[in-house]
């Protein structure tokens, strides 16, 4: 999942440029990788790829602003769905 998310970010926001330029814990905002329309694309990907249910309240940096945050957020949501 981590690799897949990284590939999505690189392909869609860095135009396929080698992603060594940002670490898993680095802020997309800080690095200028993403903007508000990008966030909506990212959310659409999480929904279609992992079947995640994402509410508007989830659109905060704690969930989406780095590879680490994304992985944590996605894993939590998938876990919640499985135990329901």
């Amino acid at each position: 999942m981590r690799q897949e998310l990284r590939k999505f970010v690189i392909d869609n926001f860095l135009y396929g440029k080698n992603g060594d330029s940002f670490a898993d814990d680095e802020s997309f905002l800080e690095k200028g990788i993403i903007d508000s329309t990008g966030v909506l694309e990212l959310v659409a990907f999480l929904q279609s790829r992992y079947g995640m249910t994402i509410q508007d309240q989830d659109l905060v940096p704690e969930n989406l602003d780095s590879i680490d945050n994304l992985v944590r957020f996605a894993e939590m949501r998938i876990f919640e769905k499985q135990v329901q």
Binding site: K17, L29, D35, S36, T37
Partner: protein, 520 residues
């Protein structure tokens, strides 16, 4: 009156009031004024004199606001550079205005360090989150911004004032049709006039709490702070609208009364489900940069029924031209309104003669908010500033085509040039084409705007390749992203085998636009 008085007078009147809220930090007017005074002394001590230019290259932050006021207090001229500006363009701007000082942060410095070697006039840098021990640039003096803002050893109060209100206060760089950015020269009088007119029609009071996500390099973002400080209100400053719910939470938590947006923000807002939240404190929303689609206006009013929605129009060269009084929105949904207080607007034909109602012509603006010209570009200036009705008076020819109805309300018809408006920013097709031409393998390129629901216009590159060249859309976009601001980077690339030309052999953007889905 000078612009720094906005802060100084509010600090005298309401010293303990919160001036700025940024992330978890809150700063009172007194503390903001004290810190800006200290930095102003540091600027003076570093040799910054009346009229010198100092660049502020920071994200929206308390430091960026304090830096702007400190530069003014030192009698100098500030310019705010968009934090997504790449190193070579920053270098061009610094050299173009011969900036003596640069205020930035450590992360940005690391990105631009190499280019700074070629900035001969730049003597001193103030670095946020950095110290002289951790950062060095050959030939430049490096000071800690945080230390300068907090230096206990400097005298209280601002440095002695020497400026008058017809001195320059700011340069705002804007895209030019030549592809090089132009510095719009604004005097203290220009800024004070525009801020007075706008706060008058928005009916701003000290009770206002204004949330701004707009970059301070964009005059619309900069003025949110200047105007709030002028009336002694509070600004909630956010870095961007990237995480919309963070902004929604801030609107509610801080009981925000004023929310300035651009159409892209509206498009994102309207994609959210806001049925379970409410904004009882919100008094007004303003929109500018590009017109809101009528459908957005309708849905925003459903979403915010008690909120006054102001449609506005302007250009950096005079800050703002017009606003539509909210009560006119139903009667004239497609109008950008009428001239603001203390300003005259009219429509002229090709000879510069005023035309009657409903006739399309170029919009002219007359008022003390009109710029002094473009920095060291007399020819470009002469195209925009032309003699007005009084001796030696100059009025602004906007380059925008409008018609006016019988009651003086303005309707935008089109632009006289090819500038693309995307995400609320103006982008010069030429600047993007210059970058495309520099890609090995690209033979010819034309850049056009295509309609986009979220961006207003999206940038499309139409290119032909040299024989044997193999470039993908990704390759082209990647190169653009590395050399242009994020908003100037094309959204799509179309490869063609040839481009239509004009009779003089130049690529015809108009023809390209007509065949490749363009708006123009």
């Amino acid at each position: 009156m000078q612009v720094e008085s906005f802060l100084e007078l509010s600090a005298q009147k309401t010293p303990d009031k919160t001036a700025l809220i940024c992330n978890e930090r809150r700063v009172s007017y007194r503390d903001a004024d004290d810190a800006a005074n200290k930095l102003a002394h540091s600027l003076k001590e570093a040799g910054i004199e009346r009229g010198d230019r100092v660049a502020v290259y920071l994200d929206n932050s308390i430091e960026a606001v304090l830096a702007v006021f400190a530069v003014l207090k030192a009698g100098a001229v500030f310019l705010v550079v968009n934090p997504s500006t790449k190193a070579d363009k920053l270098k061009y701007i610094l050299n173009n205005c011969r900036a003596k000082g640069l205020i930035t942060d450590r992360v940005k410095l690391s990105r631009i360090q190499e280019q700074l070697a070629g900035t001969g006039d730049l003597t001193t840098l103030w670095i946020a989150n950095g110290t002289p021990e951790t950062t060095a640039v050959p030939g430049k003096r490096i000071l800690s911004l945080n230390a300068a803002l907090n230096d206990p050893t400097v005298p209280d109060g601002p440095p002695a004032k020497k400026c008058i209100d017809i001195d320059l206060a700011a340069l705002i760089y804007t895209s030019g049709s030549t592809g090089r950015p132009k510095g719009v020269m604004l005097t203290h009088l220009n800024v004070v006039s525009a801020a007075s007119s706008i706060t008058t029609y928005l009916e701003n009071t000290p009770d206002d709490i204004i949330l701004s996500v707009l970059p301070m390099a964009f005059d619309y973002g900069l003025y949110q702070i200047l105007m709030a400080f002028k009336v002694g209100a509070t600004v909630v400053l956010e870095r961007s609208f990237t995480y919309p719910y963070k902004i929604i939470e801030a609107l509610i938590r801080e009981k925000v009364t004023g929310f300035p947006i651009v159409p892209t923000i509206s498009a994102v807002l309207l994609q959210l489900d806001l049925s379970r939240v409410s904004f009882p404190a919100l008094r007004y929303i303003t929109n500018t940069a590009a017109a809101l689609p009528t459908e957005h206006i309708r849905r925003l009013r459903d979403l915010f029924p008690a909120v006054k929605l102001y449609s506005m129009y302007g250009l950096t060269e005079c800050k703002r031209v017009s606003y539509l009084p909210p009560e006119q929105l139903d009667a004239r949904p497609t109008s950008v309104g009428r001239g603001m207080p203390n300003e005259e607007v009219y429509v002229v034909d090709d000879k510069g003669c005023k035309v009657g109602p409903q006739v399309v012509g170029e919009l002219v603006v007359r008022g003390s908010n009109v710029m002094k010209g473009y920095w060291e570009l007399p020819e470009e200036t002469a195209k925009m500033l032309k003699p007005g009705p009084l001796p030696n008076e100059m009025v602004l020819y906007t380059g925008d085509l409008f018609r006016m109805d019988e009651e003086g309300y303005l309707y935008f018809v089109g632009r006289k040039d090819d500038i693309i408006k995307t995400r609320g920013e103006k982008v010069s097709p030429r600047e993007v084409e210059d970058v495309l031409h520099a890609i090995p393998g690209v033979a010819e390129a034309a850049v056009i705007g295509v309609p986009d629901e979220v961006l207003g216009e999206a940038i499309r590159a139409v290119v032909t390749l040299c024989d044997g060249a193999q470039l993908t859309e990704m390759d082209v976009l990647q190169y653009c992203a590395a050399n242009l601001e994020d908003f100037s980077t094309p959204k799509s690339v179309v490869f063609v085998s040839s481009l239509p030309k004009t009779s003089t052999g130049k690529v015809s953007r108009r023809e390209v636009s007509a065949f490749a889905g363009g708006t123009a």
